[in-house]
Amino acid sequence: MVATRRRRYNLPLLIGGALVLLVAATALLAPTLAPHDPTEVDPPNRLLPAGPEHPLGTDRLGRDVLSRILYGGRVAVVVGVVAVSIGAGAGTSIGLLSGYRAGRVDAVLMRIMDGLMAFPSLLLAILVVAALGPGHVQTMIAIGVVLIPVFARLSRAQTLAVRGQEYVVAARAMGAKDILIVTSHILPNIAGPLLIQATVAFSGAVLAEAALSYLGLGTQPPTPSWGGMLLEARDVLFVRPWMAIWPGFAIASTVLGWNLMGDGLRDLLDPRLRQGQR
């Protein structure tokens, strides 16, 4: 294996963690930080340039752009948490069952996962949203569904790897219940890679939500969402270019933070896995 120079500090983890904390904090503290109500319209003061009253200006309805970006962070964080929970929860359960039981259950479950992976993930998300109808909750479900096979495959592979380990065999020989073996012996041993996958999935979820909202299928106004703000900015692209820049900047910072944290965790938890695979 590659022996790269060991760094004294896990820089990606530090920077990534800091960014993630920053985004989480602004999302959490949005009500105190935001200078205005993000949905309060003020037609006479529409499309104002940046100024002391509105640090990032106002949009077409006179709403404060900065406040909307801060509140948009909440949407991003909620979508990320819920979607990853759905994907990781369902996916890991399927993967554990599939890997532990093997045989026919495994074959059927993996067949279904193959079916889900037969599409580019964004297309799958679009289809799920099309079937459920556009909206905030639907978007989270759609992204969660897309994440299921990712977690299922990973946890299945990991389960297969630890299934034959002595402690599992020993527990089984001692007559431990399957559910107990899975939860107390297998799951803790495969948690590391799953955690890394979850951070990467989180940034993917944020990106997917932005893309769906940009297509008009995701979070709907007046709820502020970064992708939706980019959609709204399209009509005034050359009049107020900054309206199309700040939300994108927010998306990029959030994704960067989670990606870096994922890389850092990978270095920390699993030195065998070199960074770079994505």
Binding site: L61, G133, G216, Q220, R234
Partner: protein, 514 residues
């Protein structure tokens, strides 16, 4: 130079070559002249979207008819005042009982494939629309036609099953386009290979991208069209349209954003044409829902909403407020002044009279992707909040809106624009009958008046009848009517005689020059 460095550092040689190749291609592309100045008889028009089909009997989409206006002709057509004037039909008469309509056709009119227009084409066309196999969305709107008879090669008689005054207007709409009988008989695919009598023929069509129309030299109006080619590009992005007309890439762009007007007006090479549309935008109110059944509550909504501000902010400053359900430009419009002026205090009073002094919560459905309606809805929400009405906005996809809100009546309030029709019948049919209009407005007198309008042929009498119906609807505050929005079209300064037929919401390039 960059690729050399890469090679020295040990990258594979082919990668370096590839890099050079791509770079060269990019530079070649970049160095290419940004499309030379197009000739003067070729006009580029940016339209917000493309047609779904070029078969006039296969669609009800405005965008399709905007293109088809140049490919086909109708028996009669609206002039700038919305009056119906001769087109393929030179003249027409109607029997005293209003049942038989006789059209005298213009002689010497040719179709694109050479056939000369005669009465059999009109017969074949009307029968094609009425044939269920054609699957025309407008099959029933063409009217209660019982028979179409060829009297002589240039005379055709349309016999109705009952009196139906709007028939002439129906024949002037885009879906009344006349097709050649020989191709109709052969089940020709008009959808992608249109053949009509129109001023242009189809050159090339790439869906979602562009359509090229070429001059038809045998057009029946001598000297028209003046342009050799109309190049229609489908550009949904308003920002791109504005940038294109400013740079000269486009000669004409339809619907530019009001927010872009200062920039566009500042450019001396570009002209802005402001026109009122035939739309009527409304805050629709579901008359069958709880508190909204009470006329006092509905009137309170009018008083609570600053209609002029909503209209001007969301749809452009040149929009015209109206208090009746008819477009301001229509000859059937009546001026009733401002019966429910903006007055939040009065709104609050009416609400507490109706027993809702403590507040009221209403659902507000807004159709995606109609950004302007969504914006208008958010303004309405803020205004209602000031009189104690909590409107909960719910943005729904268009298909959902049509199905559940418009079709199913599952809403309290919604914001929408009603498209114009040549004849008031098209706009008003169904109003007053709660099972046939989406706001569940119930008034038998209105139903009777609209029916009377349908079977009356004297224009003055019709006007009076419809005026009475419109006043009655406003009197009962059936919904909050905002007015007619303005539309801004920009052209390069050299473009002349570009005609907008607002009455049927289409564009006419026959006399256009640049």
């Amino acid at each position: 130079m960059k690729s050399k460095a890469v090679c020295d550092l040990g990258a594979p040689r082919w990668a370096g070559r590839l890099a050079v190749l791509v770079l060269a291609a990019a530079l070649a592309a970049a160095g290419a002249p940004a499309s030379a100045q197009p000739p003067r008889d070729r006009l580029t028009f940016a339209l917000s979207g493309g047609p779904d089909t070029l078969d006039p009997h296969g669609t009800a989409a405005t965008l399709s008819f905007m293109v088809m206006k140049s490919l086909y002709d109708t028996l009669v057509e609206p002039d700038d005042e919305g009056k119906l004037v001769p087109a393929l039909a030179e003249s027409w008469t109607v029997s005293p009982d209003g049942i038989t309509w006789t059209f005298k056709l213009r002689s010497g009119v040719r179709f694109h494939h050479g056939k000369v227009l005669d009465a059999s084409d009109v017969k074949a066309t009307l029968e094609r629309i009425l044939d269920p196999a054609t699957r025309s969305p407008r099959r029933l709107q063409i009217g209660p036609i019982r028979a179409v008879e060829v009297v002589d090669p240039l005379t055709v008689r349309v016999v109705l099953a009952e009196r139906f005054s709007p028939i002439l207007a129906a024949l002037a709409e885009g879906w009344g386009a006349i097709l050649p009988a020989d191709l109709v008989a052969r089940k020709h695919d008009f959808g992608t290979k249109p053949v009509g009598t129109g001023p242009f023929t189809l050159g090339e069509w790439q869906r979602d991208s562009f359509i090229r129309l070429a001059r038809f030299d045998g057009y029946w109006i001598g000297g028209q069209p003046r342009l050799r080619e109309v190049f229609i590009r489908f550009v949904p992005e308003r920002a791109v349209k504005v940038a294109g007309v400013l740079s000269g890439e486009f000669d004409i762009v339809d619907t530019i954003d009001p927010d872009d007007l200062p920039r566009v007006r500042a450019n001396p090479d570009v002209r802005v044409i402001t026109q009122l549309t035939s739309l009527v935008n409304v805050v629709a109110v579901n008359n069958s829902r709880g508190p909204l059944r009470d006329v006092r509550v509905r009137r309170a909504l009018w008083h609570a909403i600053d209609r002029t501000q909503v209209l001007r902010t969301a749809y452009g400053t040149d929009s015209r407020t109206s208090a009746v359900f008819m477009d301001v430009t229509s000859p059937f419009w009546v001026d009733v002044g401002d019966p429910y002026p903006f007055d939040p205090e009065r709104a609050r009073r009416l609400l507490s009279e109706a027993g809702h002094g403590a507040g009221l919560t209403l659902d507000l459905a807004l159709p995606q992707p109609y950004q302007m309606h969504i914006e208008a809805g958010q303004l309405v929400q803020a205004m209602l909040a000031r009189v104690g009405i909590t409107a909960r906005p719910r943005v729904v996809e268009w298909a959902f809106w049509l199905s559940r809100v418009f079709g199913g009546g599952e809403y309290d309030l919604t914001v929408i624009g009603h498209t114009g029709k040549l004849d008031p019948e098209g706009r008003l049919v169904g109003w007053g009958d709660p099972t046939r209009n989406y706001i569940r407005y119930d008034n038998q007198k209105v139903v009777d008046l609209i029916h009377a309008g349908r079977i009356t042929s004297n224009p003055d009498h019709r006007r009076r009848i419809y005026a009475e119906a419109l006043k009655m609807m406003t009197e009962e505050a059936m919904m909050v009517i905002l007015g007619s929005p303005a539309r801004y079209v920009a052209t390069r300064a050299g473009v002349r005689d570009f005609r907008q037929v607002y009455a049927v919401d289409t564009y006419d390039f026959r006399k256009t020059t640049k």
